[in-house]
């Protein structure tokens, strides 16, 4: 479906259409109600206890959120990526931990299988992700290879009808909780071309030799488990290989290209929530005999926050639109993630500032937003890596 027609890509960039139809509006209404009534009241507790919100994930599965943009034939709802971005924003505005679960499940767990899997692989793994019964995760990062994804060391060696995987991964979101791990490995370490040496496999939980570390203690998004994953002579059948040998790097990059839309949407949601909380507080807080919102210094901060959030949202929705049209969106999703992540960090910092001393206290939500925001500048490619992607695309176009 991915078109490489440059004219179409250019048109897509100039002519985005974000109009929702009636069904989409009704869907958003339910998502909003759910986020506001069921998720938001839980955010502080999930953050404080660092417990995975299993019950909310179950509910999201029942409602259909866990497979929103995935095709109906695999149990999804076949809705647009624009709606997907709006959903992640809405859920993350309620609780960043809860909101990232469908994002990881869809963008990282399901998409590589949807894009590169065989019909049999899609039938086997996608329905359980769409229903939320069994989640999907993506395992690229290793202790020695983060930004340099091609530098991974985990190996897969063919042995008859099987591959034997050895190595370890770190920082794997939903590790231990998820059922499937799209795992990047090196199958051809001798190869000169450093982009054809990798191969991806779907490794199922319970496979002998696969084990997980304890959840790492994190600054934010505390309720989502982030763990080390160990592969000790893990045997997977050839039928678990995604694409051909050597396709791994492309699969990983294509997955992250679209995946960043979800992180951008997370960032927009967190920033929006920080602004909403801060507006509520600031209109009530009185100093020097009047509400602090009467001070121009505060008003200008609020105006800048709102403007940045809207800009971030529009960049995010543009990338979502392009992806939805099957157009390339690597540059646009990087721009969205870069700008939205930085916006989330700036807005949550400013929101805390407007809360004053109370912002620094855990009883108020401001410091949680700030801690949750930080991850959006790091995962699925740090901000520096986003700039790299954008600049390379710019320069490639200049050369062409």
């Amino acid at each position: 479906m991915n078109t490489t027609d440059p004219q179409a890509a250019k048109r897509g960039r100039d002519e985005i259409n974000l109009q929702l139809n009636e069904t989409e509006r009704e869907i958003m209404q339910v998502i909003r109600d759910f986020a506001r009534n069921e998720v938001k009241p839980r955010a502080a507790e999930i953050d404080a206890t660092a417990k995975f919100p299993e019950d909310l994930v179950k509910k999201m599965g029942e409602l259909g959120l866990m497979g929103l943009p995935l095709p109906e034939e695999y149990g999804g709802l076949g809705q647009s990526y624009i709606l997907f971005a709006l959903m992640i924003e809405e859920l993350c505005a309620a609780c960043a931990t809860t909101g990232l679960v469908p994002d990881v499940n869809i963008s990282l767990g399901a998409e590589p299988i949807l894009m590169f899997g065989t019909e049999e692989q899609k039938q086997r793994w996608l329905p359980q992700m769409c229903s939320g019964e069994k989640l999907g995760a993506l395992a690229i990062t290793e202790p020695g290879a983060g930004s340099d994804a091609a530098g991974i060391k985990t190996t897969a060696v063919r042995d008859g009808d099987e591959y034997v995987i050895n190595g370890s991964k770190v920082f794997i979101t939903l590790g231990g909780v998820a059922e499937t791990y799209v795992t990047s490995t090196v199958t051809n370490p001798e190869l000169k071309d450093k982009h054809r040496h990798m191969t991806d496999f779907v490794v199922e939980k319970g496979t002998p030799g696969l084990s997980f570390g304890q959840p790492m203690h994190k600054m934010g998004i505390t309720g989502s488990p982030t763990v080390e994953v160990f592969y000790d002579n893990v045997r997977v059948p050839v039928s678990h290989r995604l694409g051909e040998e050597g396709d791994g790097f492309k699969i990983t990059m294509d997955t992250l290209d679209a995946g960043r839309i979800g992180v951008a949407a997370q960032a927009v949601g967190i920033a929006r929530s920080a602004l909403e909380d801060c507006l509520e507080y600031a209109t009530q807080r009185k100093q020097f005999g009047s509400a602090i919102t009467s001070f121009e210094g505060i008003q200008f901060m609020l105006a800048d926050m709102a403007t940045a959030i809207d800009a971030a949202r529009l960049l995010t929705l543009r990338a979502a639109y392009l992806h939805n049209q099957g157009l390339p969106c690597a540059r646009e999703s990087s721009m969205a993630k870069l700008f939205a992540g930085d916006t989330a960090m700036k807005v949550t910092t400013d929101a805390l500032q407007i809360f004053g001393g109370y912002g620094y206290i855990k009883e108020y939500p401001a410091e949680r937003h700030m801690r949750d925001a930080k991850i959006t500048q790091i995962y699925e490619g740090t901000q520096q890596i986003q700039r790299l992607v954008i600049a390379r695309d710019l320069l490639k176009k200049l050369r062409a």
Partner: protein, 260 residues
């Protein structure tokens, strides 16, 4: 088994209703309209019966302007099978009795075994419509159900009372009004929203149901709203400082209100 659920679209019940000073009707323009949250409990009750008795047909019926279709759709998205919208310019300004009369005629076409209503609507809350429907259909009315069970061709409810509850039953078909404590309404699954568009909705006029323009709407209304006034502002509370007798003072105060 056929269950009819009567649903009303109401102005989003967050703020206070604004009243048009001329017509003395609730202003509905420029206000977000939603399926009356009170009706979600009766829809949920119907769906639970449906889940326990496969093959049960759940029909949501509403009388209101064209956009009341949205309220019906929400019911369909939750899982009801069919909608009926009675909508007609002649119906504007109907009073509770007329509303009941028209609804009864629409409900009758569905050949119901059970008719569910909320105890009262969230906007006009006269609470008269369900009784009117039961009257026109010649059916028993069980009110204030906080629990509802069906067995052996009968419906049994626990009727909420101030002191506790009464257990009452009636032969089907019957009309039952439910309270907000009967269940926790589900969110419509997103798939339900998508499917709701494909479910049938009958659109009927007053004439379709055999009523002349004179029998309904403002002309047919036997009840006339004469005026309205905002509720009295709440007076400031009394602060009791504890000098050792606060507990007695509070108890006396509550006893005076007949709360204890």
């Amino acid at each position: 088994m056929n269950i009819v659920v009567c649903v009303k679209q109401v102005p989003e019940p967050t703020g206070t209703n604004r009243i048009d000073p001329k017509s003395l009707r609730i202003l509905r323009e420029g206000v977000d309209s939603v399926l009356d949250p009170a009706d979600e409990f009766s829809i949920e009750a119907a769906l639970q019966i449906q889940e326990a008795n496969p093959g049960t047909n759940v029909v949501v019926v509403s009388m209101g302007p064209d956009r009341a279709l949205e309220a019906i759709r929400r019911g369909l998205a939750m899982g009801a099978n069919k909608g009926v919208l009675v909508s007609d310019a002649n119906l504007a300004g109907s009073d509770a009795l007329t509303t009941a009369k028209v609804l009864a005629a629409a409900i009758k076409r569905e050949n119901p075994d059970l008719v569910l209503c909320a105890t009262e609507s969230s906007d006009a809350y006269t609470g008269m419509v369900p009784g009117g429907i039961a009257h026109h259909l010649g059916l028993p009315l069980l009110s204030y159900a906080k629990k509802l069970t069906l067995a052996g061709g009968k419906v049994q409810i626990e009727r909420q009372t101030e002191a506790g509850f009464q257990r009452v039953e009636a032969q089907l078909p019957a009309v039952v009004t439910v309270t907000g404590s009967i269940n926790t309404p589900r969110y419509p699954a997103l798939k339900g929203i998508m499917q709701a568009k494909k479910k049938p909705v009958d659109q009927l006029t007053a004439a379709d149901l055999g009523f002349s323009p004179e029998q309904v709407g403002e002309k047919g209304a036997k009840e006339k709203v004469l005026g309205w006034a905002p509720a009295e502002q709440r007076k400031a509370g009394t602060v009791i400082k504890d000098d050792g007798t606060a507990a007695t003072q509070i108890a006396d105060f509550l006893a005076q209100l007949k709360v204890i």
